[in-house]
């Protein structure tokens, strides 16, 4: 069965995924909105940077982050000066790594959804005096509800499924940086197959359920269905 250390790993993983998803929604929504509406020439470059974690081996990100978080690096020293704690091999380091690693999984669905919004609706709202804030909360948010749900679930699921980055920058500390995937790796390496089965099987079921929920809700958005009534 599960040991207290495994439960720690489960809680830690959920916490990491939740914090990461929250930050990603806060940072990713404006970025996706900007990408969906900008006419700047650098758009493809920004899109490419956002998509990088999709194609890069996690070890690349892990390597750079390891260097960036080290106590003798400028970021590492800044962190110590501000928070008083070391950044390397801490939970905060995992959050930063996960935000970068899961960025495309949140930004891309949001951007796709924002791009499909009829511009005429927003223009009409603007002529009636709706501020940008009003437009976002009264039109964009309700119409993109499902995309937000998809983006959040994908970001959450992808963070739970992270391995390479957390292996390199986490340091496998029980209760602090030992997330589920790392705990599982440890069990397999030490031939604790009973425990490994619990963790691995649990992850399969959890991920399957989450994806099923995403696909259940991820139907094409029609304006009529959101506003209700007119079909």
């Amino acid at each position: 069965m599960l040991s207290p250390q495994d439960l720690d790993a489960i809680l830690l993983t959920l916490k990491l995924a939740a914090v990461t998803t929250g930050i990603l929604l806060l940072l990713g929504s404006p970025l996706a909105w900007w990408l969906a509406n900008t006419r700047t020439k650098v758009k493809p470059a920004i899109e490419a940077i956002v998509a990088l974690p999709l194609v890069l081996p996690p070890t690349v990100l892990g390597f750079y982050l390891l260097l960036a978080f080290a106590p003798n690096s400028s970021l590492g020293q800044l962190w110590v000066a501000v928070t008083g704690d070391s950044l390397a091999f801490s939970f905060s380091a995992l959050v930063i790594g996960s935000v970068l690693y899961s960025l495309p999984f949140v930004v891309q669905p949001l951007q796709a959804s924002f791009e499909q919004l009829p511009k005429s609706l927003l223009e009409a709202a603007a002529t009636m005096g709706a501020s940008l804030k009003d437009q976002f909360f009264s039109i964009v948010m309700p119409l993109s509800k499902r995309s937000f749900l998809t983006a959040a679930s994908l970001g959450f699921a992808h963070t739970v499924g992270e391995f390479g980055v957390v292996l390199m920058i986490g340091g496998n500390i029980p209760g602090e940086t030992q997330v589920l995937s790392i705990a599982l790796y440890d069990k397999v390496e030490n031939l604790q197959y009973d425990e490994a089965h619990w963790l691995a099987g649990g992850l399969v079921i959890f991920s399957l359920l989450l994806l099923a929920i995403i696909y259940r809700f991820n139907r094409p958005v029609s304006i009529g269905s959101v506003r209700g009534g007119r079909h």
């Binding site: 340091g171 500390i173 390496e189 197959y193």
Partner: protein, 268 residues
């Protein structure tokens, strides 16, 4: 009355006998011994300990990158020495807590016929030819030999030395699978993905492991490789950590040494 409690609390805290949490970076080969040691230690001390396992080289790297470890139990003396030199560990706190033994674990299917276990231990010459025969059988069966990565794992260095001693290093090189630490190396053998591997005796002597029923092992003669002196050291980060300090002291006790020996190491 509450004030008295508060004073007592403060005194305990100030003297460091208050329960503390120590994080011990522990070489993979020592994991099971360490689990036993921690259990015994926590029974008689107020402190709590947790171990972080990887190859000694990986742990060393993590420490140089600022990992919050209080003490390190390395599988060699080189890394603790280096940490001392770089000012990342407390000078003078280094000591040998165990001496490791290298074994060759292999599947019974590649055991050479004349080399039964009793014979192999009796004659030194027969011994060497038995090892050579096993390693030849691996190649014949198109399987591979697992060793820990010599760049980061002390047990891998020992394995390389043995192969060099047997003049088989060059010819076996292409048939090697390298585990990232001795734990993964043993996993390759125990899951029958490779026919044989050089691992630590401590991994085999752990009684709860029923996975190796189809495996045989021979202890490698100790003059075939440099002694694996496993050293412990207090790290800069754990300088003030009462849990790490009293655990290192505990490691030197006869009680701890008996546990370490039970796991297939020698102690002094």
């Amino acid at each position: 009355m509450p004030r008295v409690f508060f004073t007592v609390f403060c005194c305990l805290w100030a003297t460091g006998s208050f329960a503390a949490l120590g994080t011990i970076a522990t070489a993979s080969n020592f994991k099971w011994a360490m689990s036993d040691l921690i259990e015994t230690f926590e029974f008689s001390h107020p402190h709590r300990l947790r171990q972080v396992n990887a190859s000694s080289g990986t742990l060393f790297n993590q420490i140089t990158f600022g990992a919050p470890f209080d003490a390190m139990l390395s599988a060699n003396s080189r890394y603790p020495q280096e940490l001392e030199k770089r000012g990342l560990a407390i000078p003078g706190s280094r000591f040998t807590y165990a001496e490791g033994k290298l074994i060759l674990a292999f599947s019974r299917t590649i055991q050479p016929v004349p080399c039964s276990n009793s014979e192999h231990n009796r004659l030194p010459e027969a011994n060497q030819s038995c090892f050579t025969a096993v390693l030849a059988n691996i190649r014949q069966q198109h399987s591979r030999l697992a060793i820990a990565n010599p760049d980061i794992a002390p047990y891998g260095i020992a394995a390389q030395q043995v192969l060099q001693y047997l003049s088989l290093w060059e010819s076996t090189k292409q048939h090697l699978v390298r585990g990232s630490n001795v734990g993964q190396t043993y996993q390759f053998v125990a899951t029958a993905n490779v026919a044989a591997g050089f691992v630590a005796l401590s991994q085999f002597s752990f009684p709860e492991h029923q996975v190796h029923h189809s495996l045989e092992y021979w202890t490698v003669p100790e003059n075939w490789y440099q002694p694996i002196r496993q050293q412990a050291i207090l790290l800069q980060f754990g300088q003030q950590n009462p849990a790490a300090l009293s655990f290192l002291a505990f490691l030197k006790t006869d009680k701890a040494k008996a546990i370490i020996r039970r796991h297939g190491y020698t102690t002094r």
